[in-house]
Amino acid sequence: MTTEPAGELRPVPGPSALGGGWRRSLELLYLIAVADFKKSYFGTVLGYLWSLARPLMVFGILLVVFTHVFHLAGHVQHYPVFLLFDIVLFGFFQEATGIAVGSILGHEAVVRKTQFPRAVIPLSVVVTSAFNLGLNLLVAFVFVLAYGISPAWSWLLLILVLLALFAITSAVSMIVAALHPRFRDVGIIWTVTSLALFYGTPVLYPIYAPSSSTLRDVIALNPLAPIFDLAQRWVTNPSSPWPWAARMGGPVRFGIAIALFGAICALSLWIFNREAPRIAEEL
């Protein structure tokens, strides 16, 4: 008989957002995200082309609409590049949160039958989408260069933008995923909300474009707004103002948007930690 390494008795904490520890959660997060990514790209020959087709189609349609119908292109420097970049970035937010909503229900078996760290489920969706974003950004940069914009050091600052976008996408994904098992209409509500956000975020237009300053002031409160403002300034149009400039809504609104950003992140941790232990029972 082998010796029995019994060790010390340790309390069993029960199910939680990161059950089984950080390390295990991170490893699972990585494995699942990679698996999902492989699934969408290596399964079919045209896998990646398909997923690229969507943002390019959206881009093409919007470009036509906004240059030929609304004549926005005349007011914004490098409008096509600006638009493509924003669509790629917002597409990440939309895709990740949209899939994350139903993710816990989709992994019902794992949640009900194993001590799977609950937070890994929505987060793996975000990471998989982030892989997509990386590939799409490569295509976007090729487009930027082809358009004739020369590379600038400020492009490196885009990493900050991406980190912030990743953080808020994760936070929102965790909130909607945690609420969905209890309130099944969160999925529908989120579809509409994310559509509203698409128009309520300076994605299609720079924030100073709306002719109504009231509208601009409301949009400036959107925590996603500074992210898109900075992306524009650092990549496509270095002459566009800082997000706290008066043209962009002013420092107070910028401060509120940042505070909301922080609040959403904190809220997501609070909600997820609260819901995680009982998610298995709600399903």
């Binding site: 029995e4 309390p11 069993v12 029960g14 295990r24 699972l28 492989k38 078996a109």
Partner: protein, 412 residues
């Protein structure tokens, strides 16, 4: 079964300690499961039904023990297992554990059908608590154990269910956890798979691993478990030897008022006989209580009232106890040394020893009507009953004996 000791005689260390565990499920009478309902009826109080799944459960499992958890459906054993496995949170009480735990609530639950078995093995290994490196290191062993070497790069969705089960089981075995929590895994798969499970459990048992097994199969409990625990309605009813636990489990199943009244009182077997009519046929336990199921080794008392349907000249009543397979286990007869007129009644009563092994039995009666003792063509089925218990189901009866087997001293 005594507590396992490690060499010196001091008991093995406790590896699972459960104290005062309570779990209540609040089941809403009307479920509010959308924000719309919540918003439109913000003040509506939802009434909940409380379902006490576990009440004040405390126990300890020691290192190297094979510990069984038994109970009827809804007794709370799966809830307990899920709390031990950190899937549910307890409302009150503490659970403490020593060592790495691998729960097997269901085989192959974390499988991703779109991935190859290679990737699935690593993913499941990490889920079982291995580090990624460790899981990758053991990958080949797992695939060899599952005998799936040729199919490593095949996506799991293309596997047959048999291959899937083999893979899941291999992962479970190779996870090599200090404590295994197993829920009815034996119920899936064919006989060969069940045998493989048993082999592995025996091997783990020998290796001194701690295993907690939730099962309905008392044979498994008796053959594998050192100790077992019986849950009923969320309460711990018994903890101790597997024999006793199994017996109490059988009592809970077969000796309840509902189980003992499977057949409404007074309803009699609808067998027509030309000679007699059955007015009453009741089985009782030694306490005089009418029963339907009999515990093994408990004497049974019969109480039968017959009415002559035609004149019977010194009738002989021949009784057979018949097993489900149709074997006549025992026969005995009684003769009334006097004629019985039409409408007169004969009462047959008394107690019979019960060496029957667990199973279903019938009490049949043949009525002989004249001096030649010709019996009726058809037996009257008076009673049917179930013998329950933990005795092995080999043979038909258990015979008391004092047979011993011992090593003969050389030279004597």
């Amino acid at each position: 079964m005594p507590v396992r000791t490690r060499g010196g005689g001091e008991p093995a260390p406790v590896v699972i300690e459960v104290r005062d565990l309570d779990k209540v499920f609040r089941i809403p009478d009307q479920r509010i499961d959308s924000l719309k309902e919540r918003a439109t009826h913000p003040l509506r109080r939802v009434h909940h039904r409380r379902l006490q799944a576990l009440r004040d459960v405390s126990f300890e499992v020691r290192s190297g023990e094979f510990f069984g958890i038994v109970g009827r459906n809804g007794s709370g054993k799966s809830t307990l297992l899920k709390i031990l496995a950190s899937i549910y949170r307890a409302d009150r009480g503490t659970v403490r554990m020593a060592g790495r735990l691998a729960p097997f609530i269901e085989l192959g639950v974390g499988f991703n059908p779109e991935l190859t078995s290679r990737d699935n093995v690593v993913l499941n290994g990490v889920l079982m608590g291995l580090s990624r490196r460790e899981a990758e290191r053991r990958r080949d062993e797992v695939i060899d154990f599952a005998e799936l070497r040729e199919f490593t790069d095949l996506k799991l969705k293309n596997y047959s269910s048999g291959m899937m089960v083999r893979l899941a089981f291999a992962i479970m075995v190779q996870a090599d956890a200090d404590i295994m929590l197993v829920d009815e895994v034996l119920a899936v798969g064919d006989a060969a798979f069940a045998q493989k499970c048993m082999d592995v459990f025996h091997e783990r048992r020998r290796a001194g691993k701690t295993i907690v097994l939730v099962t309905h199969d008392m044979t498994t409990v008796q053959s594998l478990c050192h100790r077992a625990m019986l849950l009923h309605d969320g309460e711990l009813r018994f903890i101790g030897g597997p024999e006793e636990a199994a017996l109490r489990y059988f009592r809970l199943n077969f000796d309840t008022p509902e189980a003992q009244q499977a057949r409404p009182a007074g309803e009699l077997p609808a067998v027509m006989d030309l000679n007699v009519r059955i007015l009453e046929a009741i089985l009782r336990d030694p306490g005089g209580r009418p029963i339907e199921n009999v515990e093994q080794s408990t004497p049974i008392t019969i109480n039968i009232l017959l009415e002559a349907a035609r004149p019977l000249e010194e009738p002989e009543l021949l009784f057979h106890i018949v097993s489900e397979a149709g074997v006549v286990v025992a026969a005995f007869s009684r003769t009334l040394e006097q004629p019985v007129a039409v409408g007169e009644r004969v009462r047959v009563s008394g107690t019979i020893v019960n060496p029957l092994v667990p199973g279903r039995y019938y009490l049949d009666c043949w009525v002989g009507i004249d001096e030649q003792r010709n019996v009726t063509v058809q037996a009257i089925r008076l009673l049917q009953f179930l013998v329950y218990g933990t005795a092995p189901r080999f043979g038909v009866v258990t015979l008391e004996n004092d047979v011993v087997a011992e090593l003969e001293e050389p030279g004597t």
